[in-house]
C-alpha cells in the first residue's frame, strides 16, 4: 500500500475575480519511505499541491489518500515561525503534550548549530537561522509524511548543503515519506528517489522519473551533472521552461 495516493481531477484558483486552473489531471502514488522531488517552473501549482496533501486546502475535485492520523511535518516556503515564541518553544510547539525539561527539541536545534540561540526570538535570528528552526520544528515529532516547499532557497551554498545532509540523515533514520518541492534540477537529482516534472500552469505531470544514482550524491558532483545533461538532451522541450528559468537565475 502506498503512503500517498493522489488523484486531483481539477483544482481551481480564483485570481483577480477570474477562475484559473492550478492543477489538472493529476494522479500519482508514493510508496512508504520514498523521497519524491517535485520539479516545475514557478506558478505550476507545486505549493498548491503540498497544501492539498497536507489537508490545508480541501477545495478541489478529486481525492488524497493517506493515513488519516499520519504525523505531518511541513516546511513552508517562508519559515512561518511564531514571533512571540523563542526558537526552543517554536520547535516544542509541535510536540504534544508539551514536554518537560530539555529534550528532542533542544537536541535537534543543537544539531542544527543553534545551541546558542535556544532562547532567542525569531526577530533576532538571521534568515538562515530561522529556516533551520523551521526545519527542526518539522522534524521534531518524527513525521511519517514530510512536506518541504523549496526549503533551502535564499541560503548560502554551504548552509544549504549542510541542511540537505541533515534532511537526508533524518530521512535515513526515520524513513518518512518525503515530498520535496524545488525548481532546482541539481538539488532534485541529488536528493530524490524519484522526480515528478510538472508543466507550467495548469500543472500537469509531464515526466515521472526514477533516480537510481548511488548515494551520497553532491548537487555539483559529476554524477548529478551527467544525469542532468542526459536529461536535458533526452527531453529538451519538456524541460525547456525549467532550464530557461534556471539560467536566468544563474545570470542574475
Amino acid at each position: 500500500m502506498n503512503a500517498l495516493d493522489i488523484a486531483i481531477a481539477r483544482k481551481i484558483y480564483r485570481k483577480g475575480g477570474r477562475d484559473a486552473v492550478a492543477l489538472a489531471d493529476f494522479s500519482f502514488g508514493v510508496p512508504h519511505g520514498q523521497f519524491l522531488c517535485i520539479v516545475g517552473p514557478s506558478g505550476c501549482g507545486k505549493t498548491t499541491l503540498l497544501s492539498i496533501v497536507a489537508g490545508l486546502d480541501r477545495d478541489f475535485e478529486g481525492s488524497v489518500g493517506r493515513a488519516d492520523r499520519a504525523r505531518i511535518g511541513f516546511v513552508f516556503q517562508t519559515p512561518r515561525l511564531m514571533p512571540w515564541l523563542t526558537a526552543r518553544d517554536n520547535v516544542r510547539l509541535a510536540l504534544y503534550p508539551p514536554p518537560r525539561g530539555e529534550g528532542r527539541a533542544e537536541a535537534l536545534l543543537r544539531e542544527m548549530n543553534l545551541g546558542g540561540q535556544l532562547d532567542s526570538y525569531p526577530g533576532h535570528l538571521s534568515g538562515g537561522q530561522q529556516r533551520r528552526v523551521a526545519l527542526a520544528r518539522a522534524f521534531v515529532n518524527e513525521p511519517e509524511l514530510l512536506l518541504l516547499d523549496e526549503p533551502f532557497t535564499s541560503l548560502d551554498a554551504p548552509t544549504a548543503q549542510r541542511l540537505r545532509d541533515s534532511l537526508l540523515a533524518l530521512w535515513a533514520k526515520h524513513q518518512p515519506t518525503v515530498l520535496f518541492v524545488t525548481h532546482d534540477l541539481r538539488e532534485a537529482l541529488s536528493l530524490g528517489d524519484r522526480i515528478l516534472f510538472l508543466s507550467a500552469g495548469p500543472g500537469r505531470i509531464v515526466l515521472d522519473l526514477p533516480i537510481e544514482l548511488a548515494r551520497p550524491r553532491l548537487p555539483d558532483g559529476p554524477a548529478v551533472e551527467a544525469a542532468r545533461k542526459r536529461l536535458l538532451d533526452t527531453y529538451p522541450q519538456l524541460l525547456a521552461g525549467l532550464d530557461k528559468q534556471k539560467s536566468a537565475e544563474d545570470a542574475a
Partner: protein
C-alpha cells in the same frame, strides 16, 4: 545612552510637575475661594482620608470601574473577533457598532437607569455598554489582520484548539487587547463618575456632586487628585508591565 535619556526624561517630568504646582500656587495667591492652593487641597485630602469617606468612595468607584471594564472587554472582544473573522456577521452588525460608538454616554446612562432601575446593575451595565462598541471595533481590526499562514502551521501540527488559541491566535491580538485596555480604562473611569453622579449614593462621582452643591472646591480637587493618582498608578504598575511582558519578543 538609553538610561541617560530616560533619566533626563524623568527629570523633565518632575520639573513639569513642579511647574504645574507653582503655577497653581501662584494663581491661588489672590485668596479667591474659587481656587484653593495646593496646600489647602492637601489638607482637605488628608482630612477626607482620616475623617471622611474618601477610602470607601474610592473603593466603590474602583469596583465599578473593574466590573464594567471586565464585562465590556470580554463582550467587546468576543463580538469584535467574530466580526473580524466572518464577513457575514460583520455586515449584519456593523451598523450596530456605528450606533454604539455614537450614542452619547449620557443617553445610555439615563436609559439604563430608566429601564433597569436606580441600582448597581444599571450603573455597571451603563458603563459597560458605553465601552463595548469601542473594544469591539479595536478587536475587529485585530482579527482582520490575523496572519492565516501561522494558523496553518498550527493546523498541520493538529494542535488542540486551546493551544491554537493560546499559541497562534491570541498572541497576534495582544497589541489590540492592550490598545483596547488603555483607551477603555480612561474612557470607563470618566463615565463611571457620571453614572455615580446621576444615580448612586456613594463613590467619587456622587461625592463630587455633593461638594458641587456645597461649592466646596478644595474637596472637589482633593477627590479628583486622589482618583487620578490611582488611575495613573494602575497604568504604571499594572498595564505597562503587562504590556512589556506581552511584547517582550519585539525588543
Amino acid at each position: 545612552m538609553v538610561s541617560r535619556l530616560t533619566l533626563q526624561d524623568s527629570g523633565l517630568r518632575l520639573l513639569s510637575a513642579l511647574l504645574l504646582l507653582a503655577v497653581w500656587q501662584a494663581a491661588s495667591l489672590s485668596g479667591s475661594p474659587l481656587l484653593p492652593g495646593p496646600l489647602a487641597v492637601a489638607r482637605a485630602l488628608i482630612d477626607d482620608l482620616v475623617h471622611g469617606d474618601l477610602l470607601s468612595d474610592l473603593g466603590y468607584t474602583l469596583a465599578r470601574v473593574a466590573a464594567s471594564f471586565v464585562i465590556a472587554m470580554a463582550a467587546g472582544s468576543a463580538i469584535g473577533m467574530l466580526m473580524g473573522r466572518s464577513r457575514r456577521i460583520d455586515g449584519l452588525f456593523d451598523l450596530w457598532l456605528v450606533l454604539g460608538l455614537n450614542v452619547p454616554a449620557l443617553v445610555i446612562i439615563i436609559l439604563c437607569y430608566l429601564w433597569i432601575g436606580l441600582n448597581e446593575t444599571a450603573a455597571i451595565a451603563a458603563v459597560a455598554l458605553n465601552k463595548v462598541a469601542q473594544s469591539a471595533v479595536i478587536l475587529r481590526e485585530g482579527a482582520r489582520s490575523v496572519d492565516r499562514s501561522l494558523l496553518q502551521v498550527a493546523e498541520v501540527m493538529r494542535l488542540p484548539w486551546d493551544r491554537v488559541l493560546l499559541k497562534a491566535y491570541l498572541p497576534q491580538l495582544y497589541p489590540y487587547f492592550m490598545a483596547a485596555t488603555r483607551s477603555g480604562l480612561s474612557l470607563i473611569w470618566k463615565i463611571v463618575l457620571v453614572v455615580e453622579l446621576i444615580g448612586r449614593s456613594n463613590g467619587v462621582g456622587f461625592r463630587l456632586g455633593l461638594y458641587f452643591q456645597f461649592f466646596d472646591i478644595a474637596n472637589i480637587l482633593a477627590y479628583s487628585a486622589s482618583f487620578i493618582a490611582i488611575m495613573l498608578a494602575i497604568e504604571g504598575f499594572i498595564i505597562r508591565p503587562l504590556e512589556r511582558r506581552l511584547t517582550r519578543w519585539r525588543t
